[in-house]
Symmetry: C2
Subunit: 494 residues, 2 copies
């Protein structure tokens, strides 16, 4: 599937959040990481205690011919909930297993007591256990109900159901919280269901990464800047690597050498394999940028602190012979894939945690979530690649039998014309490539943008850490401030 792979960076909107069940998991540190990392946070970080529950949802909220139902999973933690004046903090689950988000959204656990809050983590349909058609959910036909609109309707129905299950919550405010695609859902949830949620915290939510709302090159250019800032020669080395790979892969010997020097689990043989390798490398650089946190953490992979800096230590000299350059590329990539030191080989068919539902997200990218991306190799360190909607559409049709509708998200959620809405905080990390499609300036006095210059992908949703930069501490405090304001406003109304 070469076409698909060329386009893969599109689909890696990554997961969510953060880190409170990542108790410095790896005992054996990669030497590179050991050099630069602040000490890993110490165990024990008890896995958060929550109950797993299920609610019956209509498979199709927007039509009546399909009247079937499925069980949507959600997690509840009510240790800090005060029935008389508590709030509900509601995580709008994204494209993956909800327990992963639950275990990794430390912010909610950190503020639960302050808000007397019940925490709810709702799993997004078609991910984790919430499969509308069980193990037949991923047929082209059955995927028809995998849309953001259906997911938002699930959330609305679930909250109504919770209010009957916990009658004390009947008149209590609910705040939506999400990161990445989950952050987009949180924002859209407040926009479309303001009667259900009093406000929304949309962390690293690229709601404008659609059509021509932002230049298609922004994303890769932010990634590139992260590398430029993390070590001299770093982005240039990566830029040089693409042609080096091309040169080496032009001979059978070169292919053999590449496979072995990069410790790949399976040998490169065809042109498609080489395209796949480059796509995998590109995605790796992107993922490092998303997970470029100031401390050791396990987001998409277990990583050292400031992993790009660690990787860039190997990438100081862009002007060396191809084989030397690529040996260094291997060292840099190894920071991402082998922080534990346990990996015996690298598998180019996977780049991130298996907790994310890559196939589901691919379908969503092929339908609603059409995020144009491009690179030019000049303002960024990637191989030039135009945004080719036609080719993308053909690929989608071939695989899923659907055609993407690139302007639908703007039609339904308003694009940049969202000033009539209220009570949304959009937070963005300055290091996060997705910040390019995010809301980075206040729109009104209740549509607030918060910038975290030293933050990668929704750093603010992670647990407090001694290594947190001031900017994220300020961001979390401001987020809590607005959340309290929404709660007060809600109480005043009711």
């Amino acid at each position: 599937m070469p076409g698909l792979l060329l386009l893969l960076p599109l689909l890696s909107l990554g997961g969510a959040s953060c880190c409170c069940a990542s108790p410095g998991a790896s005992a054996v540190l990669h030497p590179a990481a050991a050099r630069s990392a602040p000490k890993p946070r110490q165990p024990p970080y008890a896995a958060p205690a929550y109950q797993t529950r299920y609610v019956t949802q209509k498979i199709d909220h927007f039509g009546f011919d399909e009247d079937g139902t499925f069980q949507q999973r959600y997690l509840v933690a009510d240790q800090h909930w005060k029935k008389d004046n508590g709030a509900t903090l509601f995580y709008t689950g994204n494209e993956g297993d909800i327990t992963w988000f639950c275990n990794n959204t430390g912010f909610m656990w950190d503020v639960a007591e302050e808000f007397n809050a019940m925490l709810v983590f709702a799993e997004h349909r078609y991910y984790g256990e919430s499969l509308p058609f069980g193990n037949k959910s991923y047929t082209a036909k059955n995927l028809n109900y995998l849309t953001s609109e259906q997911a938002l309707a699930d959330f609305a129905i679930l909250i109504q159901y919770l209010k009957t299950t916990f009658p004390e919550a009947q008149n209590a405010p609910v705040i939506a919280i999400g990161g990445s695609y989950g952050g987009m859902l949180a924002a859209w949830f407040r926009m479309k269901y303001p009667h259900v949620v009093a406000g929304a915290l949309a962390a690293s939510a690229p709601i404008w990464q659609f059509e021509n709302l932002v230049p298609c090159g922004t994303f890769y250019s932010i990634v590139t800047n992260d590398y430029k800032k993390s070590g001299q020669g770093c982005s240039e080395s990566i830029l040089s690597s693409w042609k080096a790979i091309e040169r080496l892969s032009s001979t059978a010997e070169g292919l053999h050498w590449l496979s072995s020097a990069l410790h790949l689990c399976s040998m490169l043989k065809t042109r498609e394999d080489v395209l796949m390798l480059k796509s995998w490398l590109g995605e790796t650089w992107v993922n490092l940028a998303m997970a470029n946190y100031p401390y050791e953490a396990d987001f998409l992979q277990p990583l050292p602190a400031w992993p790009i800096q660690v990787a860039c230590k190997y990438l100081k000299n862009p002007k060396q012979p191809d084989k030397s350059l690529l040996q260094n590329i291997f060292q840099a990539v190894n920071v991402y894939y082998n922080h534990s030191g346990h990996a015996s080989c690298l598998n180019i068919s996977q780049t991130a945690t298996g907790n994310l539902g890559q196939m589901g997200w691919f379908y969503q990218a092929c339908t609603e979530m059409v995020m144009p991306m491009c690179a030019d190799g000049i303002s960024d360190m990637f191989e030039p690649q135009k945004w080719d909607f036609h080719a993308f559409s053909e690929e989608c049709f071939k695989i899923w039998g659907v055609r993407p509708r690139p302007s639908w998200i703007l039609s339904v959620y308003g694009g940049k014309n969202i000033s009539s809405h209220s009570n949304i905080v959009f937070s963005n990390g300055g290091l996060d490539p997705w910040s390019g499609g995010g809301v980075t300036k206040n729109i009104t006095d209740s549509l607030i943008a918060i910038m975290i210059p030293e933050g990668a992908h929704h750093l603010d949703l992670r647990s407090n850490s001694p290594y947190d930069p001031q900017s994220v501490l300020r961001a979390r405090a401001l987020e809590a401030h607005y959340m309290k304001q929404w709660i007060e406003e809600f109480r005043h109304k009711h």
Copy 2:
């Protein structure tokens, strides 16, 4: 279909609006009407000049498996449109042929010049010519895409399309206007697509006629009050008539007499026929209440001024022998069905203009638009009838293969919790039975309720008339005032 018929009043949300192509159509006046009517408005009322256009719409906006399209009809009148500072007044078409609404929403034509406005009338999918599957649209399967959400998405797409077709309209404000179900759509359109419309005038829009938001008996009790106010003995006569019909229809001779005394086109034979007769009569009384305008008009039928008063002239004595009573009932019903004097017999299978799509509305009532109704024969003049959701659901399943979801509309549009929205005027007629489910009190300073005590069903959307009560003139002025305010606000933002 006796069950269906018992429930028919549910479905008669009537059409829309009013009167500028109803040029005193009937030359031959019914004697009763001639006595009390103000002089009919004089011709010529030129039929409004508009262009008929079509836009391509996705059959399914909310799923990608069905990728087909259809042609949605819309009408455009741009005689008064000023490209530099005009607005678009956009009629959110309801359950019928859009030309009927266009020809009968005089208010928009009356204010077009004042607003330098382009008028657009958008046809609702599955009605008129806008049939997603052509003449196969009304199969149970193909009706799946007949929902309010799909209709709103059509409107949003159409407006975006218009902005590319008329580039001068790109940055011009659009105001949604609708009456009855169209008024509900106008309000919901502003709620869900505030980036598309600057505000909405929702005339006689019973957005709260769902679940238990209002008592199920309100509707019939308002109808009854209209009759109580219109003549002594009137509502009591109607109340007495139900038992009189029961008694007469218990014998073959009585059935024969009834058929002939009421001038029915086909003889009453079975128990079902009698139930159908009563249902038809009930709906007739309801329709008279909806169309109880202060001047001769052609809304659901050509009618004299204050038609209930005219009908009530025949219904002064509730305590007469059954046959006398029913002969008077015939005279009263004749006011509705035979104002022209041309009808040779009365057809109990139809009560209103054929321009309304009764089957489509029935499907909508069987899915989303579940409006509980009941009567008790005490606070109203109707036969006692409980709201029987179960029976209704069975009927829907039998006929369409679908089950109604009575709480969905509340989940998706917020029920009474709509205070986060803005820029909607809800107007209500005090005589209109649908006002019971309408918004009759201000919610915020931009969610405004206007009452028109002397108004029937969206009198305010009709053309100005010398016979208009002061209250409707004030209402129209206030509506124009708010519309101007929304336009200014929009211009200020852009």
